[in-house]
Amino acid sequence: MSKEILTTQDLHLYYGDKEALKGINLNFDAKGITALIGPSGCGKSTYLRTLNRMNDLIPNVTITGTIKFKGQDLYAPSADTVQIRKEIGMVFQQPNPFPFSIYDNVIYGLRIAGEKDKEKLDAVVEKSLRQAAVWDEVKDHLHESALALSGGQQQRVCIARVLAVSPEIILLDEPTSALDPVSSSQIETTLLNLRHDYTVITVTHNLQQASRIADRTAFFMNGELVEVDQTKNIFMNPAEKQTEDYISGRFG
């Protein structure tokens, strides 16, 4: 057995007749950060959303191929999407805190799952917010609305909210593209904090970001995976011409 936690084999995805993913083979080892890069419209978000079955929400989507999480087929008829999404959490491009207090945002998943022990909830809130590197900024107003925070703080609270349900994998879709540079670099710090304990897969449009934080980088184009390798190889010494052109800014 390998230590691969998530495997994708010959994954095709169609929006109606349009083929958006054309046979992706990509595996992820447990822990560490993988960045997905590529020109806009190449299928990064689409691919990411197949990994926790968020594409199920879109009508007329057809998916073929296999995705296995710890050996279990995510798309098997018996697969439980609710359970899958607890283990594979997701953070979106636009920070989307619920219109409740910071505290309630973080414990929402747990509370709905039935956790009532106040001490335990308090502990989870603190731990998650610390992991998300936002604790110091919000610890004095945990019971105020999360909507009153800045965009960058909101995004980190959203990350904490995902951490609180203790997933194994965290998917992020351009988590910093709606944020200013300072907030973006705080999110990067947050992600670097997480790489030892979680398998982080993040889409980014920002190549510098990928080179700063990612252990591994995957380059997508036109619905295909062109190349995946250690980040420094992708940036310094890519195997494919297309990758080199993209990295050096010749298109995209």
């Binding site: 926790n52 968020m54 929400l57 009508p59 609710v82 359970q83 899958i84 999404r85 607890k86 283990e87 959490g89 997701m90 953070v91 979106f92 636009q94 989307n96 805190p97 619920f98 219109p99 409740f100 929402y108 998943g109 709905i112 107003h141 105020e144 609305s145 909507l147 009153a148 959203c158 909210r161 995902v162 349900v165």
Partner: protein, 295 residues
């Protein structure tokens, strides 16, 4: 040809003029009703029972009936409308079934209330033998209210961003948990506003009630709260003329000497109640939204 700048000025001027006219008409109407009605109001007028032939009757029973009917109608229609709206907006796929349901709601909401009243008369009063009663009236009001309320709740759900739904699902909440624990709480202020506004419409409704809740208001004994006694205010099987129906009736066949004054007074009460509903809707909606979204 005018130049674009003049054109713009003329257009804006016209729009202001039209808007001003609408406001003016509204103010004139309100002013007339309040000026002729307010002097009639007194504690006695608001609480005393009506008199058929003599001076000095009040609208106490009618006022009570209006509220009782309103509450019953809301108790029946709100859960149904909420369920329908959640189904239509959060669950239903876009296919011919939902299109049909939506069209049906559209048509129902544009039915004249007189037609709803006649249907209520034939079905609830006659066929189901409920007679002229609060219950028949409440059912008729439900038919009148349901489509409007369903649409307004659906609109409230629509104002909640998709990213909130994705956020809930991505946390491993089920579809149902996402709807009930994330979407509904976020939509509460807007739903509440819709409910109160529709309560205003229901409160002022006459045509749907004339042949269902009836046009008589038997005296009530406000010390008797056993719903099975005929003079109990809670009895749902008694006929119950409401304020709006009362106004209609006095104006068409009122023979008491002070009919004009009573009709003016009742109109003022009705208008005030509806204004109150509207302001309450705004105030509560805003406050709740603030409570939910800020410190």
């Amino acid at each position: 040809m005018m130049n674009p700048k003049t054109q713009n000025k003329v257009a804006i001027g016209t729009l202001y003029g039209v808007a001003g006219l609408v406001v003016l008409i509204l103010l004139a109407l309100l002013g007339y009703i309040l000026v002729s009605g307010l002097p009639q109001l007194s504690w006695h007028f608001l609480t005393a029972p009506a008199k058929a032939f003599l001076k000095g009757g009040g609208v106490g029973v009618q006022l009570y009936n209006s509220f009782y009917l309103l509450i019953l109608a809301m108790l029946i229609s709100f859960p149904i409308a909420l369920g329908a709206a959640i189904y239509l907006y959060e669950y239903a796929k876009d296919n011919w079934v939902t299109t049909t349901i939506r069209t049906a709601i559209e048509i129902l909401s544009s039915l004249p209330s007189v037609v709803v009243g006649l249907f209520g008369f034939l079905f609830f009063v006659v066929k189901l033998r409920l007679g002229f009663s609060i219950l028949s009236g409440a059912f008729a009001l439900t038919f009148f209210n349901l489509p409007l309320l369903t649409r307004s709740i659906e609109d409230s759900l629509r104002t909640i961003d998709t990213t909130q739904r994705e956020g809930g699902l991505a946390l491993g909440l089920s579809r149902w948990e996402t709807v009930t624990r994330v979407i509904l709480p976020a939509a509460v202020p807007s739903i509440l506003t819709g409910v109160i506004l529709s309560a205003g419409r229901v409160f002022g409704e006459a045509a749907a009630l004339i042949y269902t809740a009836g046009q008589s208001a038997p005296a009530l004994d406000f010390t008797d709260w056993n719903p099975f006694n005929i003079s109990s205010p809670l009895n749902p099987m008694r006929p119950a003329e409401t304020l709006a129906v009362h106004i209609w009736k006095i104006n068409s066949e009122g023979i008491m000497p002070d009919a004009k004054a009573i009709s003016s007074g009742s109109s003022a009460v009705l208008v005030l109640a509806i204004l109150l509903f509207n302001f309450a809707a705004r105030y509560l909606g805003k406050r709740l939204y603030k409570r939910l979204t800020s410190a």
